[in-house]
Symmetry: C2
């Protein structure tokens, strides 16, 4: 096969769509979405289906002690493979593309090369990472985090499901507690294909995003203790209103993000007041702060300004404020060379393409700690995500998989 025929190679879009549909039937929910929580029975059935496809493709299957599943083409023990992959767990009201698309497009790449009898110089691999969503176990991106040594097996096993059981027990129960040591394989490069989970590509009518940056994330839970009192009889100056503290902080964070500009975003998505009654000053408030930036220095600045605001308002309102860090991820800069490659290949294949920043977390950010990595994004209509209405057109799905195919081929040709 000549270089020219290789460059004309395209994945089989119909086959990719059939697999997406078959996987979406497991844990199907109303509206076309999926509920396949990590390490649930649905997750087991989903894994069984995909592992079956890997077997049919003749891949060597390895499962590690955190349940990450890897399918390898021959030679992976001797030479670091080019790896792709994502996850197949979903949130409770998940769509059918988030994660699943990246895994199944990886299979599609391998099957396309297999059908064309092309064996690239380097072996290829497809990974299914455990518990990416964080909907059933915290933290999210847990499988890839363990793979790169960021979390010990003991800590990961102890993670407790929102419905009770420990992660280790659930892993054993569904039969995916494998024998490989986490981190047993280090790829030569890692590329993850994913729907954007944001509105930018769809809004701009661009087919492919070459993702070079991933936002840093700071999550905190903030608990305010004030004093419950009658809303009519307690003068403003005698109040210790925990609800006011929550509201003022949420408004401050919004204004802070607007003032900082650039990539800074701040969200207060959850507020709980107690007793939460119209005519009672709230005794307690719990709320969350979600701060993100692509620049670690600016993210630290936003955290510091929040901390100062909380100190000031606690003094001013005679309330007690406690904060608890729920998650903290530094911004990730992916491998510039891999992002350049994605951008170039996307263009060569005739796609509109732009560089972009990922606002969501992905397994690729963990893999970036151990090898050159980047991501390919395709549009998600209206940016809808974590929702049964999540949708990407078949044409966009095919285009993204073709970019993945040629990016992996190119990476596999490298030393």
């Amino acid at each position: 096969m000549t270089e020219t025929t290789t460059s004309r190679l395209r994945i089989d879009a119909a086959r990719l769509l059939r697999r997406l549909e078959a996987l979406a039937e497991i844990g199907a929910i109303e509206g076309g979405g999926c509920c396949r929580l990590a390490l649930s029975d649905e997750d087991r059935h989903g894994r069984d289906l995909v592992v079956g496809w890997m077997r049919e493709l003749g891949l060597a299957i390895r499962i590690d002690a955190i349940g990450n599943v890897f399918g390898f083409t021959p030679g992976w023990e001797r030479r670091a493979p080019v790896m792709t992959g994502s996850h197949i767990d979903t949130v409770r009201t998940g769509g059918r593309y988030d994660g699943n698309y990246g895994v199944l497009a990886g299979l599609e790449v391998i099957e396309t090369l297999h059908d064309a009898r092309i064996a690239p110089p380097r072996p290829l691999a497809v990974a299914i990472f455990t518990n990416e969503e964080g909907a059933r176990f915290q933290p999210d991106m847990l499988g890839s985090l363990v793979h790169v040594g960021g979390l010990s097996l003991a800590e990961a096993y102890a993670a407790q499901a929102v419905d009770g059981p420990a992660l280790g027990a659930e892993l054993a129960r569904i039969g995916y507690l494998g024998e490989e040591q986490p981190g047993f394989v280090t790829p030569s490069a890692f590329v993850e294909l994913h729907i954007e989970q944001g509105p930018i590509l769809d809004a701009e009518g661009i087919a492919i995003g070459a993702v070079e940056h991933l936002q840093g994330i700071s999550w905190q839970e903030i608990s305010v203790t004030g004093q419950s009192n009658h809303a009519g009889t307690t003068p403003m100056r005698l109040r210790r209103d925990a609800g006011y503290v929550a509201a003022a902080t949420a408004a401050f964070l919004h204004d802070l993000a607007e003032e900082m500009g650039g990539a800074q975003v701040c969200t207060v998505g959850r507020i709980e007041l107690h007793p939460n009654l119209i005519n009672v000053i709230a005794a307690r408030a719990e709320f969350t702060a979600d701060l993100r930036n692509t620049d670690e220095k600016l993210l630290l600045e936003s955290e510091a300004r929040l901390a100062r605001f909380l100190t000031d308002i606690a003094a001013r309102t005679s309330t007690k404020i406690e904060t608890r860090g729920l998650a903290r991820l530094e911004p990730v800069t992916f491998d510039r060379g891999v992002a350049d490659l994605i951008e170039r290949i996307a263009g060569e294949l005739g796609n509109s393409v732009r560089r972009m920043i990922s606002g969501a977390g992905h397994d690729a950010q963990m893999m970036a700690r151990i090898c050159p990595a980047a991501m390919i994004f395709v549009p998600s209509v209206k940016g809808i995500s974590h929702n049964a209405a999540e949708y990407t057109t078949p044409a966009d799905l095919a285009a993204g998989a073709d970019v993945l195919l040629h990016t992996m081929l190119s990476l596999a040709a490298r030393r």
Copy 2:
């Protein structure tokens, strides 16, 4: 009996306390409080107990079509009586004094006069008003509101309990759908004795409050519709964040009350975000606004400024805001003469006394529409109210009942 011996007359504090304790046993909850929701079985048993005491005192008992119970001393059909009274329904986590104290002190006044063989020129009456708390049926102060013609029987009967049934059906079920037309009696004056439900008397160490003003109340429920989106991938300028609107409005209202000063208070006690998740921009927010002032003009100003703020922020955030009025009561100025009388008598009886404003709603504010009315407050320790820990000392309970006794005696001596 001479004027001098009359002025030395005192109620029997032990008897009053025994009745308070006996009534508190019906619907007793942990911590010494009461759960006797309006028109529940507990309310029926409480009514039966108090009506039994009225009967033992030889009072003529009349029940009207909204379940208000009146006990009269002889002659009430011929001459407008001096009336006292309150309610015996409680909130779900109610104390034992709120309402009950006013009713039972009324009985105590009549029994004291009966024992002393004193028959004042005017007859006396004690009222138990239906559903004052509003904890089971809206609106609150419903029985007294119907009595003064502020709500039709048909509307009141249709009020639906938080647990389902209609008020009319519950009234019939517990046997308190009486035969009298609401408003069948107009007192010559009305005096209600109540615990303060606020911290002022306790904090200042004053025994008696002579209440001449009652705050106006404006309750609104505010619903914001924005758009749910990923907290990481949605730039600030593209957000339609319903949670931010709720927070900014709550903070605005707090600052507005501080800016307006005086008697203005504003409270946002309830906030609900949907989906209420850390990393999702809230699609919807519901929250309540509780605005109060003793001056109707200023209360209207605070409502207008809230409305302007909502219009502006809806435009600025591309959200849709709907408001629903839940309650609107104009400030009440009680009868100055009756308040003066209370203040004078409290002083003559050797009590510390101050004029005050009620921040809570009371049946007396309804009665003020049809006759001269005012209220007597006694301290509630730490201002705790609507709570099992509500507490007033026996000495303060006795002092308040003595002020009620002599105020009623004085009013009953008037033409």
